[in-house]
């Protein structure tokens, strides 16, 4: 029942926050997120059972949540990242800010554990609303525009997905099966070529917008640029994984023939996104934008892992989602601290801050190294497995991915060095305070643990991937 705990606690916390005084809001949110972490520990170490309740019998909708190997570590990522983001949030942000944050955590937990497409869709839609309000209420000047772009693009995507979901259920029913939205039951279907392709792209567009993947990333720059650091951290660290997770959870079991058919164009588009993000990051002058476009490039790396259609590539993506989420989220939080202290974001306006803030610089560098894929830290293990998958399917994309890693080293170090190194300015900044070290240390420790022991995650993810690929294998399969 720890899964229910994990889902219910943020919702309950959100409601309590709403009626609590403003001053207590952060405290309540922090306690809620710690309770969430405890619930997650229970899920991980004690009981991973999910729930499977009937919800709308007429449509065969079941409230079916699981904590299997695909979900388990994304749920952990969500619990950790939301806790870190809430700790890093502004004391004076007010109760509605924390309300929306906790509601967002609730919807993400639901999304990452639902295996009924209807429930999946409900959480998918609910998730849009907190982000919309966080972007409008607590962001920079262009926050409202950013929120509008987020909403419009994602609604377009989810509209396609809704059509796809309904069509899948109906086709399954027409083929003589029960009316159901259960992914496991829908996975056995054989779709006609035309219908299959249409539905495939309906889901693909929805997931690609959420990730985002090039060229459907139009909402990303403003949303990342305008939102406060903790919100950026949860969008880039956790929400972006929803798109890739959807591909693994929903599309791989159902649409393998379509993946096979369109594999080459998909790989090409993902490779373009990979290069595009990296090349943009190389030229951006705003530290948050460099990281944002770097993240766009990393999302394409995950997509390449999926599109490799190899077991090891899928496993690499599953792992890389968690690794990337932790590191990019933490990196945005660190950038937020820098912005708070300096009031600046342009690389041209900063230099030599290492001198006055060596500890902040050390954590900054640590997460920069993680993001650029330093062997020994978790990003590398994920990238290795994805590249192994690409070597297995189409080696040329492995070469492209490899050389983008070199560019990644370049643009990530560029940010760090421009901000932290060089001649020290006359006025320094304040180094980390104890409260910040308190959550950065466990976060960094977790990153190191996953980096030196990726097997802790990969060995658990494998059985669920087997299940996903079991259906795929029946349809021409994963290598």
């Amino acid at each position: 029942m720890f899964l229910v705990w994990l889902l219910a606690v943020p919702l309950a916390g959100a409601i309590v926050t709403l009626i609590a005084p403003n001053a207590a809001a952060k405290g309540i949110a922090a306690i809620t997120s710690i309770l969430g972490l405890i619930g997650y520990a229970g899920l991980l170490f004690i009981d991973r059972a999910g729930v499977n309740w009937s919800w709308i019998p007429a449509w065969g909708v079941r409230f079916h949540l699981v904590g299997d190997g695909l979900s388990l570590f994304l749920l952990g990522l969500a619990a950790v990242m939301f806790a870190a983001a809430i700790f890093a949030s502004d004391q004076g942000a007010g109760r509605s800010y924390y309300f929306w944050m906790l509601l967002l955590e609730f919807s993400v937990v639901g999304l990452f554990s639902a295996v009924d497409l209807f429930v999946f869709y409900v959480f998918w839609e609910v998730l849009l609303i907190p982000v919309f309000f966080l972007l409008t209420g607590w962001s920079g000047e262009k926050g409202k525009k950013a929120a509008m772009k987020w909403l419009v693009m994602n609604l377009v995507g989810s509209f396609f997905m809704l059509v796809g979901i309904v069509a899948l259920a109906v086709i399954h029913h027409q083929d003589g099966g029960a009316f159901t939205f259960e992914i496991n039951k829908l996975s056995g279907m054989v779709l006609g070529p035309a219908v299959g392709s249409w539905l495939f792209f309906a889901f693909l567009v929805a997931f690609a917008i959420k990730a985002p993947l090039w060229p459907l990333h139009g909402w990303m720059p403003d949303a990342y640029g305008e939102s406060p650091a903790p919100v950026t951290a949860v969008i880039s660290g956790v929400l972006s994984k929803a798109g890739i997770y959807g591909m693994l959870r929903v599309m791989i079991p159902i649409f393998m023939p379509q993946f096979r058919e369109y594999q080459m164009p998909l790989l090409i588009v993902a490779a373009i996104g990979l290069i595009y993000g990296a090349a943009s990051a190389l030229r951006q002058r705003d530290m948050k934008m460099v990281t944002a476009y770097g993240s766009l490039s990393h999302m394409s790396m995950m997509a390449l892992g999926v599109f490799s259609l190899t077991a090891v590539g899928l496993l690499g993506t599953t792992f890389y989602m968690v690794a990337h989420g932790l590191m990019i989220g933490a990196l945005f939080l660190v950038l937020g601290m820098l912005e708070n202290r300096t009031g600046r974001r342009s690389l041209d306006d900063m230099a030599g801050l290492n001198h006055s803030a060596p500890r902040l610089a050390a954590y900054f560098l640590f997460f920069v190294l993680g993001a650029l894929g330093l062997p020994g830290l978790p990003g590398f293990a994920g990238e290795y497995m994805i590249i192994q998958g690409l070597v297995t399917s189409h080696v040329v994309f492995a070469v492209i991915a490899g050389f983008v890693l070199v560019v990644a080293a370049w643009y990530m170090l560029r940010v760090f060095q421009a901000v932290m190194q060089g001649p020290a300015p006359t006025t320094g900044i304040k180094d980390l305070v104890a409260g910040q070290v308190a959550w950065l240390v466990p976060l960094a420790g977790l990153v190191i643990l996953i980096g030196v022991w990726p097997a802790g995650i990969t060995s658990h993810a494998v059985p669920s991937l087997y299940q996903a690929m079991h259906f795929a294998a029946a349809k021409g399969g994963v290598r």
């Binding site: 772009k149 595009y276 062997p375 020994g376 070199v406 060095q417 001649p423 020290a424």
Partner: protein, 626 residues
């Protein structure tokens, strides 16, 4: 585990404890603690090697699998340690020379603000390098490989307020990442075919493979790319010259004695693969010979004491990989050891000079220093004689073995290049020696204040100087020590030391002696200034390292930046398109919204949700449910 884990972990403990407690401990303690731990690692390394020698020659390997690194379908890679005599040699040099350089650094870094940070980095480097050579498979090797690059990045950019140091650190890191990617792709290819990246598994397969398939060539080339970057082979060499921005003991340890020889280690380790990839094997030799003479030519006109040594390191790395390329593996390892002694001695002595001159590195400010620093001068002289290949100093034996075997294997052109470079080496090294220690002091003020370094620095320098003199004596022992490694798998039939033709030795030594004479005549007798000839056409090209930096900028860096500019233009187009849609929707939504409330966005939201719900409803009603 035979103590392997302890050897590895001690320096890591040092790095961690110094980082954690540097605020609490006295500054001096950091250096002593770091040196102590590396010293213990050295003793444990000797113990491990002695134990290793008690194993039967047919299987002289100690392994230990510690934990699963990755499992799942496809890769199941263990975090595995592996000690054989080859790794054992590197182990001794890393911890032994490493300990000496740690001790030296106690004196050299005294009074620097970042003293504890320096020792934490240095210990971290030793840990990473040990991980690299103790790795039992290519994946763990790659982790060590990248971590030494990180340590190098830390230490090149140690004085992070200097823009040049920061730029040099980034260049080194990015160029080495290129090499890392080569190894990553190489190991992925090997995994694909053999489902393992462990040395023993792979080499057993290679021993029975037929040479020459494109797969083996590509794999070997990709792994060689890693070696090229780390060992600064042309055209991936520029970072090493810039790396001299780091403190001088770092140049001695990382950028001369140990890290840059990782490429030699990897290629020697991979000899069974080189056997079945003959084209790549030849390429290794050809690029090595070219690097050798290329770097030597650049050293001719350098004005900075450390730059000369940096290019001489490049050139000597060329010799080592030439040995690998012609299959003279023992000779390559031999030269690696000798080079570790004499080049560390040279760098540390140069560090003492720089220290004595208050940080001055320009040769035009030196001269006549032998009176002030006799011990340093003696060590520098011994090491210079060694690197120049003058018998009976250490470098003579290893270089002769390399050149002799290059000749024996029929690589006559490469042999010619090697012999000629031996003469060039002697010239530029004696130029450096004379300009530093002989002639009239060119800067009286600096000269007046110069002094011999404190004993904590002089003792390691002299120790390394003595090793540069007598080190060559271990050649016979090394031959026997490494024999089990090269007997284990096919592909190293000429690995043992061989002597070349007598006339080759006569030419090489003769050239070196003549070059010494020319340098003596130019810089002692005629007192030629360091900058003489630099304005001539060859002088400019050689001084500017043949324009390779500009070539890289023009061919690689600027096009990439241009790509970024182009992409940003496209990006603006995409964003403008999205903006147009968003504006359109917003305008449409606000038309529908009652003007008096003004909460446009709330209405927009509810309308969106409503539209989706309606569409869904009609789809269900009309489209699908019959």
């Amino acid at each position: 585990m035979q103590g392997l884990l302890e050897i590895l972990v001690l320096p890591l403990i040092g790095a961690a404890t110094i980082t954690a407690f540097k605020g609490l401990m006295p500054k001096r303690l950091a250096g002593i603690w770091a040196s102590f731990l590396v010293g213990v690692s050295f003793i444990l390394s000797i113990v491990a090697d002695v134990r290793l020698s008690h194993l039967s020659a047919s299987h002289r390997v100690v392994t230990g699998a510690i934990w699963n690194w990755v499992t799942g379908f496809g890769p199941s890679i263990h975090f595995q340690l592996y000690l054989d005599p080859l790794a054992g040699v590197w182990l001794l040099i890393i911890t032994g020379v490493g300990a000496l350089i740690h001790v030296y650094s106690i004196g050299y870094m005294h009074g620097d603000d970042g003293e504890p940070r320096y020792f934490a980095y240095l210990n971290f480097f030793v840990f990473s390098m040990l991980l690299l050579v103790l790795a039992g498979n290519l994946a763990v090797l790659l982790i060590g490989w990248a971590l030494v690059g990180l340590a190098s990045y830390f230490l090149i950019g140690f004085w992070y307020q200097r823009p040049t140091a920061v730029a040099a650190a980034k260049k080194a890191f990015v160029m080495n990442t290129l090499g890392d990617v080569g190894i990553l792709l190489g190991l992925a290819l090997l995994y694909l075919h053999y489902h393992s990246v462990g040395y023993q598994h792979l080499f057993a397969i290679f021993s029975h493979a037929t040479p020459g398939s494109a797969f083996f060539e590509w794999t070997a080339f990709l792994l060689y790319l890693g070696a090229m970057a780390k060992s600064a082979q042309f055209p991936l060499h520029m970072w090493l010259a810039d790396a001299m921005e780091g403190p001088t003991p770092v140049s001695a340890l990382i950028h001369a004695a140990t890290m840059v020889t990782a490429g030699v280690y990897l290629m020697t380790r991979l000899y069974p693969l080189l056997r079945i990839a003959p084209v790549t094997h030849e390429l290794v030799a050809a690029i090595a010979a070219f690097t050798c003479i290329f770097a030597a030519s650049v050293a001719f006109y350098q004005q900075d004491i450390k730059k000369v040594l940096a290019y001489s390191t490049l050139s000597q790395l060329g010799y080592m990989l030439l040995a690998v390329g012609v299959g003279a593996y023992t000779a390559g390892v031999f030269h690696f050891m000798m080079h570790a002694f004499f080049k560390a001695a040279l760098f540390l002595a140069a560090g003492s000079v720089i220290h004595a001159l208050n940080g001055e590195q320009d040769l035009s400010k030196m001269g006549g220093l032998w009176r002030k620093m006799p011990w340093t001068m003696a060590a520098f002289l011994a090491a210079t004689l060694a690197i120049s290949g003058i018998p009976p100093f250490s470098g003579y034996f290893s270089k002769e073995a390399i050149l002799g075997q290059t000749y024996n294997s029929g690589h006559y052109i490469l042999w010619g290049i090697g012999v000629f470079t031996a003469g060039m080496t002697s010239f530029y090294m004696f130029r450096l020696f004379f300009l530093t220690f002989f002639g009239k002091p060119r800067d009286e003020k600096l000269y007046e204040h110069a002094h011999e370094a404190p004993w904590v620095m002089t003792v390691p320098v002299v120790a390394l100087g003595v090793l540069s003199v007598v080190g060559g004596a271990i050649g016979g022992w090394l031959n026997g020590w490494l024999a089990p490694v090269f007997h284990q798998y096919a592909g190293a039939s000429h690995a043992a030391l061989e002597s070349g033709p007598i006339f080759g030795t006569v030419i090489a030594v003769g050239l070196a002696v003549v070059a010494f004479g020319v340098a003596y005549w130019l810089y002692v007798v005629r007192q030629t200034a360091p900058r003489a000839g630099i304005a001539s056409i060859p002088g400019i090209w050689m001084y500017k390292a043949w324009g390779m930096d500009s070539a890289w900028m023009a061919v690689v860096v600027n096009p990439l930046k241009q790509l970024g500019v182009g992409v940003l233009a496209v990006e603006r187009g995409i964003l403008a398109g999205v903006m147009g849609i968003a504006d359109g929707v917003q305008a449409w939504a606000s038309d529908l919204a009652p003007i008096e409330t003004g909460y446009v966005r709330r209405y927009a939201l509810s309308i969106m949700v409503g539209v989706v719900a309606l569409l869904a409803y009609y789809l269900i009603r009309i489209g699908f449910i019959s």
